[in-house]
């Protein structure tokens, strides 16, 4: 499983454009809001928590449709499934690699996006924490979606339709946490709920994704 994870990281480092594209997408979407809403800091700061979380989730979704499709097209998936490695562990390694390659750079870019959206600086720390939990949940749900849509024509369109409704709680709690922190409130309960969601997705999503891969 660690070998699969390390191979993913190595491949991502050889093709850094994909991870960079997600980060740039995140920053550009956040940069568009001031143009649409107007540069008034008050109006922007009200929008900022929700916009930040939504943009980050959409950016993390970008590379997901290639997660298993590339492996299936060049025959690697057949070999990976005949190594005796349980498919659930393969899916877990893929989800972990997706988070490392896409989620972590998004966290590094969060201060830039937060500044573009005029989010009060008091909220930045919690924003990074909430997005760390939220993007990890999305990596897990997205791995499940990628495994389910593997082999479907137009899987790239199907995937967001499957995954985004499941990510609604992430948007609610992550935006709630950021809003609370930026307004001087208590962000802890929101973060704990995100953590609970992650604790549930951590075992369930790879198991379901593994079952989907075996059937595929």
């Amino acid at each position: 499983m660690i070998a699969v994870f390390l191979r993913e990281i190595r491949l991502a480092l050889r093709h850094p454009a994909e991870a960079l594209a997600a980060v740039l997408f995140f920053i550009i979407v956040c940069a568009l809001f001031p143009f649409g809403v107007g540069p008034s800091p008050d109006a922007l700061a009200r929008l900022a928590p929700g916009a930040l979380v939504t943009a980050a989730l959409l950016a993390a979704l970008l590379p997901l449709d290639r997660l298993f499709a590339g492996e299936a097209e060049d025959g690697s998936l057949d070999l990976l499934l005949t190594t005796g490695l349980p498919p659930a562990l393969l899916a877990a390694a893929k989800a972990a690699a997706h988070w490392t390659v896409t989620g972590l750079p998004l966290l590094l870019a969060t201060p830039v996006s937060a500044a573009l959206l005029a989010l009060p600086v008091e909220g930045w720390g919690v924003a990074i924490l909430a997005l760390a939990l939220g993007s990890a949940i999305l990596s897990l749900l997205g791995t499940l979606g990628a495994a389910l849509t593997l082999g479907a024509r137009r899987g790239g369109v199907l995937l967001p339709l499957l995954v985004l409704p499941l990510a609604v709680p992430v948007v609610i709690f992550a935006a709630g946490a950021i809003e609370a922190a930026a307004g001087g409130g208590e962000a802890r309960p929101f973060l704990l709920l995100l953590g609970a969601f992650l604790a549930g997705a951590l075992p369930l999503a790879p198991l379901a994704a593994g079952a989907a891969l075996r059937e595929g």
Partner: protein, 196 residues
């Protein structure tokens, strides 16, 4: 000992073959012959555990392989039509990855297929035959008793076919089983033929 009883397989609702039984004892080689679309690749995928048979069962030493997919995976080496090569990795990195999953020595496997001189080049620079040789080199990793090969000599030159012959002979001498689907003559002396 590999045995399949009364196997049937379906692709896209169409029955590809049905009522197929076969047996292969240690050291034996079985050639799957038949026209395009006869179900040779499908049979190999069923035997590898990648595809569930529509009917019948595949057994190893009398035990149904579907009961323990991990154990069947560990004893099987499957070579598909595609070479499963990532253009950005070098042959040594590729084999190093599979060796971590399945054991074995990547450098010895590279040498067995004559790829040592190319070990450090990115795979995107390899020719089709060289890519096939890299896919074949994975067979030499670790020690799995069951080899399932789909058109193994596709694109190989005669020297490489000779190297593959040595690899197959060594595998059978150790008590390994080879099942190969092919349209070309393979270096498998004494192989039984199974028409599909």
């Amino acid at each position: 000992m590999l045995a399949a009883e009364d196997l049937a397989a379906r692709r896209g609702g169409r029955v590809v073959f049905a009522g197929l039984s076969l047996q292969a004892a240690p050291g034996e080689a079985l050639l799957l012959l038949g026209p395009n679309g006869a179900g040779k690749s499908t049979l190999l995928r069923v035997l590898a555990g990648l595809l569930r048979p529509a009917a019948g069962r595949v057994a190893w030493d009398g035990e149904d392989v579907a009961l323990d997919a991990a154990a069947h995976g560990a004893r099987t080496r499957y070579l598909g039509h595609q070479d499963a090569i990532k253009p950005a990795l070098t042959p040594r990195e590729d084999l190093g990855f599979w060796a971590r999953l399945r054991g074995g020595d990547p450098d010895a496997a590279l040498a067995a297929l004559g790829l040592s001189a190319l070990a450090g080049l990115p795979c995107r620079t390899l020719s089709a035959g060289q890519r096939r040789r890299l896919a074949l080199a994975r067979l030499a990793l670790g020690d799995a008793p069951l080899w399932l090969l789909d058109e193994p000599t596709l694109g190989l030159d005669s020297v490489s076919v000779g190297r593959l012959g040595a690899l197959l002979a060594g595998h059978r001498a150790r008590g390994g089983i080879v099942l190969a689907a092919t349209h070309l003559p393979l270096p498998l002396p004494g192989a039984r033929e199974l028409g599909l």
